[in-house]
Symmetry: C2
Subunit: 253 residues, 2 copies
């Protein structure tokens, strides 16, 4: 029983991705350069049309693989090592958001460990990691490498800001911060993730007690490493816990 297409307005549906990672102690997002109109040459979030018989989550996972090579995992489970966490963020459907036509975009948020380099057909000029601060802060935009003060294409500034805010609040009460870490990591490396995402300094001693004392958050692998220098640190991997109770406390706010 197909519907009369004149009974409802047709929409295009896309997925856009906010892919976040922590590089060199800064929270970074994946940006791609647009090759076509509109906003040709401007930076944008990766994304694309949802296919005819494709679920929204499947479309987001497909785009994620195309842009980063990362596999996504079930968001109800804790992030496994070296896979990305992927979850739906929000949907944006302002009638004016795309000048060509009516497009509704279902934005997704992905959290990834630090990667060698982005890939977008191997073209280094068309995809890169940029600190979210430089992408979003249009006031102090002069002299920065990406964007040069230009906003992102479409409403992607707002989508990126929403994704960053979601990540910042979600690592408070969930174990999601481990999705930014490689398969095995130290407490110090996890702390630097929190510091980069929140933009604050945390007391290393209290942080250590807190995360090792929360049941199911971290499980020791038995190994140690000195890759950060100093005294050898225990290696951990993410435990089964997905929700942190009590939560990590973000200073001030």
């Amino acid at each position: 029983m197909p519907y009369d297409p004149s009974a409802f307005p047709p929409f295009a549906v896309t997925v856009d991705l906010v892919v976040l990672t922590v590089r060199r102690h800064a929270l970074c997002a994946l940006a791609v350069r647009r090759g076509e109109q509109p906003f040709q040459g401007r930076w944008a979030l990766p994304g694309g049309f949802v296919r005819e018989d494709e679920d929204l989550a499947a479309a987001a996972a497909r785009e994620l693989v195309e842009e980063t090579g990362l596999l996504a995992h079930d968001p109800t489970l804790p992030a496994p090592p070296n896979g990305a966490h992927l979850e739906q963020l929000a949907t944006y459907g302002d009638p004016e958001r795309d000048p060509r036509m009516r497009v509704v975009s279902v934005a997704h948020l992905a959290l990834a460990p630090d990667l060698p380099a982005p890939r977008a057909g191997g073209d280094a000029n068309s995809a890169r990691w940029a600190p979210v601060e430089s992408l979003l802060d249009q006031e102090n935009a002069y002299g920065r490498e990406i964007g040069h003060g230009e906003p992102l294409a479409f409403d992607h500034d707002r989508i990126l800001a929403d994704g960053v805010e979601r990540a910042r609040s979600k690592i408070e009460y969930s174990s999601l911060a481990t999705a930014f870490c490689p398969g095995e990591f130290t407490v110090g490396e996890l702390r630097r993730v929190y510091e980069a995402v929140w933009g604050v300094a945390l007391d290393p001693r209290n942080f250590h007690r807190k995360v090792t004392g929360t049941p199911g958050f971290l499980v020791p692998t038995g190994g140690t490493t000195t890759r950060q220098g100093g005294r050898p640190a225990q290696l951990f991997r993410a435990g089964g816990a997905t929700v942190l109770n009590p939560p990590m406390l973000r200073p001030d706010v």
Copy 2:
């Protein structure tokens, strides 16, 4: 520069509403009876197609007025008296979710104070408030007034469950519970909202200290009431605070 319509698959886009309220000490959702195929005669969430030049939030607000007469307010502000809180919930786009065609539904969550009665063209048999427990609990479904064990139409069971979960967690750390209350209310009435939404009993004495001690949550109006019996209680209205810090603590969980 219109787009080539053959370059992307056309979708229908709808908004569906999870409208929650507290009646007779139970968390209730608005359900409407479907008058047409598919799922004719089954209960469903209210909703409808997004119009040609309509924003998603505007479509949700329009549906809310049509079904309840309630005006929606800016979700970034605290809920004003006798208006509904409305926020985007999530988007559902399984290719099989509507047997007729490809439909993507942007679900919204609305929280409303107790209303006289729902209105759907004045037809009392086609729209009503039902306890969410009876709508969702398909195990113990015998003997209940609505649904009689039948799931809701489409994937509305899942949408309703997601909306209820959102409401349950959001009243922990925001002042949203006041959206379930009339313009002026007592601490005891607010406590009964929490008890109904969470399905737990709270200590009235600690609750009172907690909510009156959180700056900006409640502001006294000066009046008192004895409508609940017993000693006269102070009347309050919602304060300017939208985020509760420290949060209300939900027992167990």
